[in-house]
């Protein structure tokens, strides 16, 4: 049962072949059995079974809701009423949220069951899940490898089939990069498409939530639930939400697929390049036309991002002061000392590093050289995409330069860790939707991700292309040995 997609599980529930309680118990058993992956921070077994029982009762006398009785895991960045919402940090390790994030409300209203909260890099700052206060997550494909990050727990949970799907968030690649490294499907929607209300803020002009699933069809199903206008998020976009499943089966004849030359240059591993080339051939067979394009400023997206994201983070994380919620240091001399000790003990090394970079680049005398310059560069990067979408309908490239690296391989060198997001960051800066789907295995047997980037609010087209690709290939059906 755990190998089924959500679309298949819905059919099994509908046909009465299985109950939500049985399904939920099956996944809880798998979570328990594979605790060594460290994919979960909180497991909500009792509450999940209670929700499943209620769902089964409801199904007996009411029409099922869109995700009736389907168990799902949530990244521990989404506030969930009555549950710890730690954001992977000691700072929030004792924080029981008094409310639900809008995304969580949507899933509850759709009838989904919460299995638990997944592990993540602290405050979503990381590309390997190694900055978590709760320890790293292991990649189910190779236990010595990282699962990627920051949504590493969600990616590992789906890859190991501990949950049929999970939520993630993506500020610079945090859905797409772990999806690639764990061999699953992940979608970062257009900025403003999914509400950020109740999602612990990292960099508010970049953060966006999205689904992490086995297939594009499942991602479409979940995005139907997640997307929509929310008056509680000031940057939520008031635009109708299409039925993302309605266009999955459209043909790709005449689709213009743009290959940015900057995504195929130095630094791209040969096995990844080969897999992406093979994917291009598959899309050609499906009727797509290939167009060579250029995103000239995207090569500077990483430096640009490492000004903007830490600047926004240093401002957002100033709220953690030990006064209203979360951690407070035990001993201190006065108010300032309480702030300092609380924040120094509550935040981990990488979070402190980013706060300091942000504080520095925003400080008097440096603002123009760093923050303003980065905002100008951001405009150029966004303009490149605008030009490119005059020539093509979707942009295709690798999600990451290499397959999953080993645990500990990059922890001493933050810059080399940052460069892992070189292909994912540009879409965040421009606010565009991006997807990663499995494209085969590398020489080391670890998964390779194919990235698709669309124009603003064209999630339906990305899902359509991904679904057609998945109809023609079976990379997304590969599972790690032992799971």
């Amino acid at each position: 049962m755990h190998r089924k997609t959500i679309v298949e599980l819905q059919a099994a529930l509908e046909a009465g072949q299985i109950s939500s309680v049985e399904l939920t118990q099956a996944f809880l058993d798998r979570i328990d059995h594979h605790q060594d992956l460290n994919a979960f921070i909180t497991i909500t077994a009792e509450a999940a079974l209670e929700q499943a029982r209620a769902s089964d009762d409801r199904r007996d006398h009411e029409a099922p809701r869109p995700l009736e009785g389907i168990p799902i895991a949530h990244k521990d960045i989404f506030c969930t009423q009555g549950l710890i919402t730690s954001c992977g940090s000691r700072m929030l390790a004792n924080f029981v949220s008094p409310y639900d994030a809008t995304v969580i409300q949507h899933f509850k209203a759709a009838g989904a069951i919460i299995l638990g909260k997944t592990n993540m890099d602290e405050f979503a700052m990381g590309s390997s899940n190694e900055t978590s206060f709760y320890g790293p997550v292991k990649n189910p494909w190779a236990n010595q490898a990282v699962p990627g990050g920051s949504s590493g727990g969600s990616a590992a949970a789906v890859a190991a089939q501990l949950a049929p799907a999970a939520t993630g968030t993506d500020t610079g690649g945090s859905i797409r990069q772990p999806a690639a490294l764990c061999g699953i499907t992940g979608l970062k929607p257009t900025y403003g498409r999914v509400s950020r209300y109740g999602m612990v803020a990292f960099a508010s002009s970049l953060d966006q939530a999205g689904p992490m699933t086995h297939t594009a069809a499942d991602a479409a199903l979940l995005l139907n639930i997640m997307a929509g206008f929310d008056p509680k998020d000031s940057t939520s976009v008031d635009k109708p939400v299409p039925d993302y499943t309605a266009t999955l089966n459209d043909g790709l004849k005449g689709l213009r697929v743009g290959l940015p030359k900057e995504y195929f240059g130095d630094g791209l591993a040969a096995d990844v390049a080969q897999a992406i080339d093979a994917s291009v051939e598959t899309l050609k067979k499906l009727g797509a036309n290939i167009v060579d394009i250029s995103l000239p400023n995207s090569t500077l997206a990483v430096p640009c991002y490492y000004v903007l994201a830490p600047a926004e983070a240093s401002s957002n994380l100033s709220r953690f002061d030990g006064v209203r919620y979360g951690y407070r240091a035990a001993d201190y001399d006065d108010l300032n000392d309480m702030y300092r000790k609380t924040r120094s003990q509550g935040f981990g090394e990488e979070v402190k590093r980013r706060i300091m970079i942000g504080a520095y680049t925003l400080s008097a005398g440096y603002y123009d050289a760093y923050y303003l310059k980065a905002q100008q560069l951001r405009r150029l990067i966004a303009d490149d995409f605008h030009t490119a979408f005059g020539q093509c309908d979707v942009i295709l490239g690798p999600t990451t330069p290499t397959t999953a690296f080993d645990l500990g391989a990059k922890t001493d060198d933050p810059v080399s860790m940052y460069l892992n997001d070189i292909y994912t960051i540009p879409a965040n800066l421009a606010g565009l939707p991006g997807m990663s789907i499995p494209a085969g295995l590398g020489e080391d047997g670890r998964p390779i991700g194919l990235q698709l980037i669309g124009n603003a609010f064209e999630e339906a087209r990305l899902l359509n292309v991904a679904h057609q690709y998945q109809q023609a290939t079976d990379h997304h059906k590969q599972t790690p040995e032992g799971y």
């Binding site: 257009t190 500077l300 990483v302 905002q375 940052y418």
Partner: protein, 95 residues
């Protein structure tokens, strides 16, 4: 752009962080590395380019100035480190 320990100490103070001596050395190194990375931005001439603060350039929405939230003081204060009579307690700041 190389930072020295004094710079990092100053930044830490601005950010209300306490950094120990051994940590300081490591942060001087990594923050300098990051500023070197960031310095690559200077390869592009951005004179006259209007800064982009946000992906959606539309102005922020306005709403009617009416109360929409319920009073949830008690449930919010239950998770606070220290409260008394509906107030958040902090160390004394006025003598």
């Amino acid at each position: 752009m190389a930072l020295d320990p004094t710079d990092v100490g100053k930044i830490a103070e601005l950010a209300r962080l306490e950094i120990s001596e051994p940590e300081l050395t490591s942060y001087v190194h990594s923050l300098t590395q990051i500023l070197d990375l960031v310095g690559q931005m200077n390869a592009v001439d951005t004179a006259g380019i209007s800064p982009m603060a946000h992906p959606s350039d539309s102005p922020l929405r306005l709403r009617q100035d009416i109360v929409t939230e319920q009073d949830r003081r008690q449930s919010f204060q239950e998770i606070a480190p220290a409260t008394e009579s509906g107030l958040y307690l902090v160390p004394k700041v006025i003598e």
